[in-house]
Subunit: 281 residues, 2 copies
């Protein structure tokens, strides 16, 4: 279940009046800790800060927050060489009802979790995935953010676990491809790379951003576009990104099959050069 | 902040591993307690049970749940003559990640809260309201349900409080009228009553259902339809429903004004006959 800390002190419970419980009034980040360091910290900190702004919450000071993350990992029993830190920033408890108390304070919790690397053969051979029946609602005011409102992912994830798979792809209510249940998705077609734009729903992952940034100045710049079912089906290669596993090829979804191809492998090499060791095959 | 109970015992905290906090993996009900009884209990119980089914959660036994509600109100310091009970049903804590542990257990919490009746002149004169800038996402898998994913309402409610108003109306991302931030909405035009259909987003309130049910066999049957901005603007009368206040006329929203008219008053009389005493003017 992980070990949790608040202001450096271990904590096992939160107030039942927490606005996190009642409304999901907050945000989170899930950070890969590798060799004692918070990987892609700047990206996590930036998304969290922007998320707080959009939600009208006071963002934690990111330097202090990084210190809290580092301290939590050291205090905990999880190996700092390879583990996960989770940050939750949540609106402080208030009266009953949707309205926040004013001024609104935030509470920050940091958790430390064990994790295992994904088996190497998945990087080589790719994943079999599912096309989830659960659809994501369109036009969310929180598109791109990692808020505590994650019921869509919970239901989509239940489908994946039910099918005994590692991951599933999700579409939005208008039949556009958006992401995996815990990952972002990229297509390769005619040597061009595209990924769904996330202006209506979905979470803009930090590893997605790294892929976009790393390829920004190459002739293989990622296009952020709307992607429909036919474009997914006709892609040459499909791969997923996630803060923990880095990048994984997809070899199938429903009846569609794809090769683990040269573009995916090239992007994996680029990520490995950026320090994403999971991609160093 | 309310007094909370679980299985008859007072409780002030929940596990920080709660899937309610992390994902909003659960549902709630907010029930008017009047003269010691849970008003519209059957409607609340039915929505909660259907919600649990759609979320894949085990629903609490409704008779036992009603007993827990009654006991909580009696145990608490709130006056059982007139107060609010809140039920939270939440997926039990599990491992980190969206995937639920299997089999999934649920936890049920019951809270007792003080409340005040809405001032009588609001029933007579109607409310000034706001058109919220916050939009509701369309095509939600949880349309109609009262899940713990309520960030849209939190942001919309912030707009209402900022404007020092009682309520605001919300549209969805496709510019359809859906509801108030904590109420459902009805329009009267040419002596016909309509209310937004809630198949893409919104919460199907119990008082909304009572209005629909009470008028079902009259020649003023409520039509559940898509409603756009122009239809709202050109309505003759507008009113809101909510489990606590019953029914309240709306006299303005943004630049639009409406009369507190005869159809609204007739519906209020019908609700009063059904035991919604707030509507007995």
């Amino acid at each position: 279940m992980g070990e949790w800390y608040r202001n450096g002190e271990p904590v096992g419970e939160i107030s039942i009046a927490s606005r996190g419980l009642h409304y999901g009034d907050g945000l989170f980040e899930t950070i890969a800790i590798r060799a004692g360091s918070a990987r892609l910290w700047e990206y996590h900190a930036e998304r969290l800060t922007q998320g707080c702004e959009r939600l009208g919450l006071k963002a934690p000071h990111t330097d202090q927050l990084l210190q809290q993350v580092t301290d939590a990992i050291r205090q905990s029993d999880v190996p700092e060489a390879y583990c996960i830190a989770k940050i939750i920033v949540v609106a402080a408890p208030g009266l009953r009802g949707y309205g926040r108390p004013r001024p609104i304070e935030t509470e920050t919790y940091v958790g430390a979790f064990l994790t295992q690397p994904v088996a190497l053969d998945k990087y080589h051979k790719g994943l079999d995935t599912l096309l989830c029946e659960t659809r994501l609602a369109c036009g969310s005011p929180f598109a791109g953010l990692k808020t505590l409102n994650r019921l869509e992912q919970v239901l989509a994830r239940s489908e994946v676990l039910e099918a005994r798979l590692f991951e599933g792809l999700t579409m939005d209510a208008d039949d556009r491809l958006i992401c995996g249940t815990m990952s972002n998705v990229f297509l390769v077609a005619e040597n061009k790379i595209s990924t769904p734009q996330l202006n209506r729903c979905g979470v803009a992952g930090v590893m997605r951003r790294l892929v976009v940034d790393v390829l920004a100045d190459t002739d293989c710049k990622v296009q952020e576009i709307d992607i429909n079912r036919e474009q997914l089906a006709s892609a040459d290669e499909v791969f997923l990104s996630n803060s923990q596993f880095g990048l994984l090829p997809v070899k199938s979804c429903a009846d569609w099959c794809w090769d683990v191809g040269p573009v995916t492998q090239e992007v994996m090499r680029s990520l490995a050069e950026q320090g994403i060791r999971e991609c160093r095959l």
